[in-house]
Amino acid sequence: MNPVNYLYLAALLFSIGAAGVLIRRNAIVVFMCVELMLNACNLAFVTFSRMHGNLDGQIIAFFTMVVAAAEVVVGLAIIVMIFRSRHSASVDDASLMKL
């Protein structure tokens, strides 16, 4: 099967993730969408790695996962914190600062 298709899939996932970030209100979901985008990247990395026949891409994918994990740690912490202080995880509620 032509690896390029995986690239299209990656692009698709990335777009879905981006769209989700733009559309969804719940901070958690938004964050999940970001993760989705990261994973789209991973897919792309792996695919390219395959195409080029070197392993860099795959290794990067591992790094990405680690980073994503770290982001989850920090991100969830922040989100939880704000949820506790305003009892809502909606991104739109957090709009005290504007203009």
């Binding site: 690239l7 990656a10 990335f14 993730g17 981006a18 970030v21 901070a27 938004v30 964050f31 970001v34 985008m37 990261l38 789209a40 990247c41 792309a44 990395f45 695919t47 390219f48 790695s49 195409m51 080029h52 026949g53 070197n54 392993l55 860099d56 891409g57 290794i59 990067i60 790094f63 990405t64 980073v67 770290a70 982001e71 920090v74 991100g75 912490a77 922040i78 989100i79 914190m81 704000i82 506790r84 202080s85 305003r86 991104v91 957090a94 709009s95 005290l96 600062m97 504007k98």
Partner: protein, 550 residues
Amino acid sequence: MSTAVDVHNLWTMAADPVEKIPAPHIEYAQLSPTLIVIGVALVGVLVEAFLPRRSRYYVQLLLTVVALAAGFAAVVGLAAGGFGGAKAHVAAMGALAVDGPALFLQGTILLVGLVAVFTFAERRLDPAAHGNRVDSFAAQAASAPGSAGEQAAVKAGFTTTEVFPILLFAIGGMLVFPAANDLLTLFIALEVFSLPLYVLCALARRQRLLSQESAVKYFLLGAFSSAFLLFGIALLYGYAGTVSYAGIANVVEGRPGSVNGALAGTMGNDVLLLIGGAMLLMGLLFKVGAVPFHMWTPDVYQGAPTPVTGFMAAATKVAAFGALLRLLYVVLPGLRWDWRPVMWGVAIVTMLVGAIVAITQTDVKRLLAYSSIAHAGFILAGVIATTQDGISSVLFYLLAYSFVTLGAFAVVTLVRDAGGEATHLSKWAGLGRRSPLVAAVFAIFLLAFAGIPLTSGFAGKFAVFKAAAEGGAGPLVVVGVISSAIAAFFYIRVIVLMFFSEPKPEGPSVAVPSPLTMTAIALGVAVTLVLGVVPQYFLDLAGQASTFVR
């Protein structure tokens, strides 16, 4: 030779039944600045774990200061050792560059960090709670604002001394960022310094809600942008089959080391390259705070604890612009004719939007945020020059700008009323009457921002504009000049407010800071004036440091 390939070799060898593993070759001495900082950061974590509360503050402060000072010393040593010029090369198996720009920027970041630490550690501004001196960070970040838990924490005199190691981690990341010599390292460094910043933003003692909101916004948008960055990396990798700067550059210029079929296939496909490059740029421009990726800046700057804002505003810009420079000058010079026009557009929009929107701001921190956006535009003008002068002017500008910014935010921490810092402009009315010195100092910073001669702001602005003009970006200079004229308006507005309007009876008071903040501010003023009146030495420094290794 690219990192990943080597790593890959290790990998495969590890699979063989041979027991000895050749360690990757790493020049520890040349990476010492970073290593020191990261190392001490880890120690700081241990301190948090094992030392009793009351002693932590002092230990942490001491450690941090020592770490940064040592790091700076190391940088100086390396520079003196000629790594800035003749001996500049790529270290850590191609992962990091040790060259002029890297060292200059690392030095700047370390100094900025050092000064920032002073403002972090300031404990005299807020009235003591239950007899314990407090700094501008939450007693216990985890506890919801106003909750019983928080009150308990305050009563117990808790303080978030974790900020120091967190700060060090951020600085560590920033040290790597401009030195990163392959895209993977770039990405990692980005995350390493971003994540701590997200956390720091959330730690304000006063106005927690704003603080948390800023953290959320910063985090989500930051993650969003780094996703773009990562995808860009992916595409570039796809295009070039490697993530090392040199490798990509070679491919872009059409002379790769070895061409296999797949590479030949992707190499021809410039769309990958262009889209990838664009997304990469976007990721960096986000950190820089360039329009249209700037919108997080005002909110985050306003919400974050002021010392953190000051640090972010200064250090992040330095690191990000360093990375941007390296990317454009080392990886994509072959693409100059594609990205220059685009960056022109970005620079122009950034300068204008920053200046114009700032006019109607009513909050000092937001005002400074927009001003930082406008300055990002000015620096971009220097970046676009794509000449030796361009690089050195940007380096100089970053040095000058970062200290002005630190000083300005440090002053902001001093003006307080019952609700903590009084950041609303209306409260600054007549400050000049009540405490002329503070007002005068702030005025100096504002004038530097406005680029009035005899301040570092002017020298920097002249340097970048000169470089841009020489690089054939005359129109850009004109736009820059116009937007500085617009920008002048709101800096002046603040000065008018401070000096020419009658002080309000219920106006804020100016807290008398500890020597820490005083040093920070004094340093800011000193650098501002020195770089304004006798900039030659530093211009030379930047000039010598303006060649990238590849």
